[in-house]
Structure formats: C-alpha cells, structure tokens
C-alpha cells in the first residue's frame, strides 16, 4: 500500500466511524460518504491538498481514492452481513410450497449469494439492495407479517384470498424477503445513472427475460414477484400482495437508521414512516389500504 493509500484509508476510516453515521448500514454509510465527498468538494479540495493529506495528488485522484477505499470498507462489512442474512434470516423452504423446484435450500442460498455479489457491482442496483438488506436484518418483515396474519384484515385477505397463498406465516415472510432481494434486478438491467421510481409492465417483461438469463434456476414466480414490486399499484392494481408489501418494506428501510433513541414528543419511526408514505402513496405507487393497516400495526405496537 502506498503512502497515499494509507492516508486515504486512515481518513476514510475516521469518516466511516463518525458518530453521526451510527446506526446506518454499510451501504447507507457508503452512499452518504460518497455524496458527502462530492457535495463538499469545494471545502475538502484545499484541505486535502495540504501537506498533512495529499499535497502531490490532484483532487480528482484524491476523490477517487477516498471513494474506492470507502467502497472497499462497505464491501468488507457487506460480505459478513450477507452471509449472516442468508444463514440466519431467510429460509427457502417456502419455494417448495409454491413451485415444483427441485433445488435444495443450500443451492438456493448459493444462487442468491452469487446474485447479491453481481448486484453489488453496479451502483444503481447496489443502492437499491440497501433497503431490502436492512429490512431483513432488523426483522421488519417477520414482525409485520406475523401481525398481518393474526389480524385477518385487508392485507391478510389480499395474501390468502386474492393471491391464494396457503403457506405458513414464516414462509410468507421468507417469500417477501426473497422478493425484496430480487427487486434490484430492475436497476441492474437499467441504463447507467438512471433513477427508477417505478416501471411499466412492458419494461418488467424485458427485465424478466434478462433476469432469466442471469438467474437460470430461479423460479419465474419469484423473479416476477421481485420485478413487479417496481410496478405502481395505481397503474397496476392487480399486482400481487407479496410484491406490494416488498415494495413498501424496501422503501421503508431505504433510509432507516437503527438503534436511535426516540426523541420526546416524536412519533415512533415506523408509524411516522407509514404516515408519510400514506401522503406520498401515489408518488411511490403504494397500496394506500396496506399503508393504513401497517400504520395501525405500528401504532398499536409502539413501533
């Protein structure tokens, strides 16, 4: 490692451990630090050119160096997180209840693990996988699905009566988790530097075709569920309940900061998010009735 790389690693390490970023996931930290370096270039540039930092390097190179180091740090943390998630938080047993796949649980785990590595290579899909990974790791999906089923209200009816899911609560949660993980396929196959809010069904079909090539042994029902979660419920009211929930939970955890103490006089994080999402439901293409029910669950449980 050169002196410059050492200095960059040291500087990035201190940025990474900054208390203001506490509670963020590795990908969130990476995104914030990249944006921070870009937006504060005017201030950072002269400081970085001082003899204490990188006097011999042009700013572009310094910026590149710092951002690369930060990405490496995120990758390092992501590897551990990914393994833990697949080992402890997801089971692929539900697939056998909804498809006739002959792959084993371990084979599915391997496929998803490889898929995640691929997804993380492209900035657009890398950014999008952040929400699903947080949602799975903090147990958001499990705790809401359990409440949804026990309440037997709108969401439960959509899942069991409309989508005809006859599987256990835990399996429904796993189905949503895998759907969420497959959502970034849309971003992976989208043009560079594009920001996708939601897509059309024609676009979804194209992504599905590409995805079949990338994930050869992944059942279509799962790929479709993941890709369709990017369809707007306002335009496509018949998209299945799992995709609608995957869309909500992914967005909910996109900017979630964990382990933060609730301020006095503030509504809880989940309740606040669902309340705000209700006001933006058209913009994000959410199912408003689902948001109402999820907000009630959050409110009743103090989440």
């Amino acid at each position: 490692m050169s002196i410059s790389e050492n200095k960059a690693a040291e500087f990035a390490e201190r940025l990474w451990n900054n208390p203001s970023l506490q509670g963020l996931s590795p990908l969130q930290k990476e995104e914030q630090l990249h944006t921070f370096i870009q937006t504060n270039a005017a201030v950072l540039k002269p400081t970085m050119a001082s003899k204490e930092f990188f006097p011999d390097l042009p700013w572009q190179e310094v910026q590149h160096l710092l951002m690369n180091v930060i990405t490496s740090m995120a990758n390092q943390d992501m590897h551990t997180l990914q393994e833990t998630l697949l080992d402890r938080f997801i089971s692929f047993d539900f697939i056998y209840s909804i498809t006739d796949s002959s792959l084993s649980n371990a084979e599915f785990k391997k496929i998803i693990s490889e898929y995640l590595k691929t997804i993380l290579e492209k900035p657009e899909s890398r950014r999008e996988i952040s929400g699903p990974l947080i949602a799975i790791s903090v147990g958001v999906v499990d705790r809401y699905v359990s409440q949804i089923i026990s309440r037997q209200q709108y969401v439960s009816i959509v899942l069991t009566k409309v989508q005809h899911l006859r599987i256990a609560v835990k399996q429904i949660a796993d189905f949503i988790k895998v759907t969420m993980l497959l959502r970034p396929l849309v971003h992976y196959f989208s043009p560079n530097n594009s920001r996708i809010q939601y897509i059309t069904s024609a676009y979804a079909d194209k992504v599905l075709q590409e995805s079949r090539q990338l994930l050869k042994f992944m059942p279509d029902i799962l790929l479709e569920s993941g890709i369709n979660s990017l369809l707007s419920f306002q335009e496509y009211p018949h998209i299945d309940g799992i995709s609608r929930l995957a869309s909500i939970f992914s967005q909910r955890c996109r900017h979630l900061k964990t382990g933060i103490q609730l301020d006095k006089g503030a509504e809880t994080s989940d309740k606040s998010w669902f309340s705000v999402a209700r006001k933006n439901y058209r913009y994000f293409g959410f199912d408003l009735d689902m948001l109402y029910e999820l907000q009630n669950i959050a409110s009743d449980n103090g989440w």
Partner: protein
C-alpha cells in the same frame, strides 16, 4: 479552561454550603442552641458573603473589560449575583461580625428603640441570602434544550426574586411603622418596664421587692443589677453564657440600675419567617421544575427539536406528536405543517440532506 471549571465547581459548592448554612442558622435560632455553635455561623456567613462579593466584583470587572457589563448584569443574572452578595455583606454579615468582635450589646435608654429597629432591619436583609437558591438553580443543567433551561430559569428568577425582595422591602418598611404585633408587644413591655424604673427611680415608688415582682411577670427580663449587686436573674449565669450572644439581648443602664432584656424571640420570629420564605421559594422552584418545565418542553421545545432534526438529518423521519389539547398552539400548527407537508416532500426528494456534515468532521480535518 480547567481553572475556570474548578472555580465554577468551587463556587457551586460554596452556594450549596451557604444555603445549608442559611437553613441551619435559622433552625438553630428556633431550637435552643449554645451560642458557641451559633457564633461559628457569624464567621462562616461573613466568609461566604465576602467570597460572593469578590466573585461578583471579579465577574463584573471581567465583563466591564470585555465591554459586556450590561449583558452580564441584565441578561446573565449579574444582578442576582449583586443582590445576593454586596448588600448582605454591608447590611448583615459585616455589621454582625463587627458587633460580635466588639462584644456589643446595645446600650442606653435613648438608643433602645432605634437599635431594636436596626437589629430587625438587619435580620430582614438576611432574606436576600435565599436568592442564592436562584444562583444554584441557574447552574444546574436540568433540561436538554437550552430553551427550556432559559425560560424556566427566567420564570423562577422572576417569581422567587419578587417573593424574596418584596418580603425584605415590606419587612423593612413595617419596622418603621407602628404595627401592633408580637414583636412590638415585647418591645413595649420592655420599654414600659424601663420607663417605670426611670420615672420611679429615687422615689419610694420603686422598691427592690417591687422590681423583682415585676421582673417575674415580665419574662423578657433576664437580669437586674442594682449598684453592681445582682437583684434578679431569670436563669443562671452559666445558662446565659451558654445560650446568649450579643444580638440576643439589650442592656439598659440608668445610674444604679442595669437591666438585661431578652430580645431573642425577635430572632426566632425572624428565623421562622425566613424558613417559611426559604421553603416556600424552594417549593415554588421545585413545582416549576416538576410541573412547568416538562410542560414547556412538551408544548414548545420538543416539537421544535424534532422539526429541526428532521430538517437537518437525512434519515430522521419522525413526525411530531401533536397534542390534541394544544393543537391550536402556533407551534403545533407549525408541527402539523411539518408532518403533513415537509416530511412527505423530504421523502419524495430524499437526496439533499445528509446525516454527516462538515461540522462533524472538523476534528479530522484539523488533525
């Protein structure tokens, strides 16, 4: 910086000690306590008043040198520092110490009434010591939000100062008007007794037996000497030495008669009034801390803090809890707009705010 912290800690400790001393001093006046113990407080009281006067002068001088005297005096409670130090030193502790050192007991028939009034006025000035409660209160950090701290301190200061200062002013004024109360009754009895002796002296109207009989009915008469011989003594010499100090009695001398009168009930009544004011002030402060301060936080500063964080931090998405009872308050109307308009807008455009700012990495950039 470290020296300033040590000095501030020292002053805070001194304030706590002087408040305890004020409380103990009054309690000891009410319960019969040997003079040897009470006189310790004369020295410590003077020491504290001197310390706080010096502190005020140093702070004032520093403020003057930096052109911030007005700010210190008016906005940083310099006036509380002043009122709780200089007048006390001049009116209370210094005269008491000097009297004690000189062993003065007030003498002379013409001076009796005037001296009693001065003793009373000086005792009333001790009420100002209670203002130090405010100084202690101002130093305690009891709320996270500076706004709550400042508003609560301001309210407590206004209420407590009004209470204490008006008590002192009215108390002082009352000493100069003829009001028939327990104190004046005591004073009248002593004056009547002295007048009787003055008028009857040298005539057959006053015999030693009569003096003793009258003294027995007048409980404030401690002792009567005639031509240097003790004619009457309410308690033993040792008892007087043990429990009485210079401010507890007055001596009336007229030719062959020397009469000691007990004025300690004045001090007891003054101590009880002081204790009442002290404990009432403490109760007001505690009630404001317990009842008002949280109310202010809930209805003003907490919503403001949440909205500020929501505007500063990217991932902060918490809505403000809008109290139904106070929904019409401007702050909650603002909070309503924040919940209904700002947060949804922020969510739609969540790329501008970052959780980290340049301020957060100043230490890294400087190292």
């Amino acid at each position: 910086m470290k020296i300033t912290r040590i000095a501030e800690g020292f002053i805070t400790a001194a304030i706590i000690l002087v408040l305890l001393q004020t409380l103990a001093e009054d309690i000891l006046l009410i319960t019969p306590t040997p003079w040897s113990i009470r006189q310790i407080f004369i020295f410590t009281g003077f020491g504290f008043d001197l310390l706080f006067t010096l502190e005020f002068l140093i702070r004032g001088w520093n403020a003057f040198n930096t052109g911030k005297l007005k700010k210190y005096f008016l906005y940083e409670n310099g006036w509380v520092d002043f009122v709780a130090s200089v007048p006390l030193l001049m009116l209370s502790s210094a005269p008491t110490l000097i009297n004690h050192l000189q062993g003065i007991s007030f003498a002379g028939a013409g001076a009796l009434i005037g001296m009693l009034k001065i003793v009373k006025a000086v005792r009333i000035a001790r009420v100002l010591r209670l203002l130090r409660l405010l100084r202690l209160f101002q130093r305690i950090r009891f709320a996270n939000a500076g706004m709550v701290q400042r508003h609560t301190v301001r309210i407590v200061t206004i209420i407590a100062t009004t209470f204490i200062v008006f008590n002192m002013i009215l108390g002082t004024l009352f000493t100069f008007f003829h009001v028939s109360d327990a104190k004046s009754t005591l004073q009248n009895e002593q004056m009547g007794f002295a007048k009787y002796i003055t008028l009857g002296w040298g005539t057959s109207a006053v015999s030693n037996e009569m003096l003793i009989n009258i003294a027995l009915t007048n409980l404030s008469t401690m002792r009567i000497d005639v031509d240097g011989e003790t004619l009457y003594m309410r308690n033993s010499e040792d008892y007087f030495r043990k429990y009485f100090g210079p401010g507890d009695y007055v001596v009336y001398e007229l030719d062959k008669y020397t009469i000691w009168f007990d004025v300690s009930p004045l001090a007891v009544s003054s101590a009880m009034a002081n204790l009442t004011i002290f404990l009432s002030t403490l109760a007001v402060i505690l009630m404001i801390l317990i009842a008002y301060s949280p109310h202010f936080a809930v209805t003003v500063s907490d919503p403001a803090i949440i909205m500020m964080k929501g505007m500063k931090e990217k991932s902060y998405n918490h809505e403000v809890k809008v109290s139904k009872n106070f929904a019409e308050d401007e702050i909650f109307q603002l909070a309503h707009l924040y919940n209904e308009e700002y947060l949804p807008m922020k969510d739609r455009n969540n790329t501008e705010n970052l959780d980290i700012s340049l301020n957060d990495i100043q230490d890294i950039l400087k190292s």
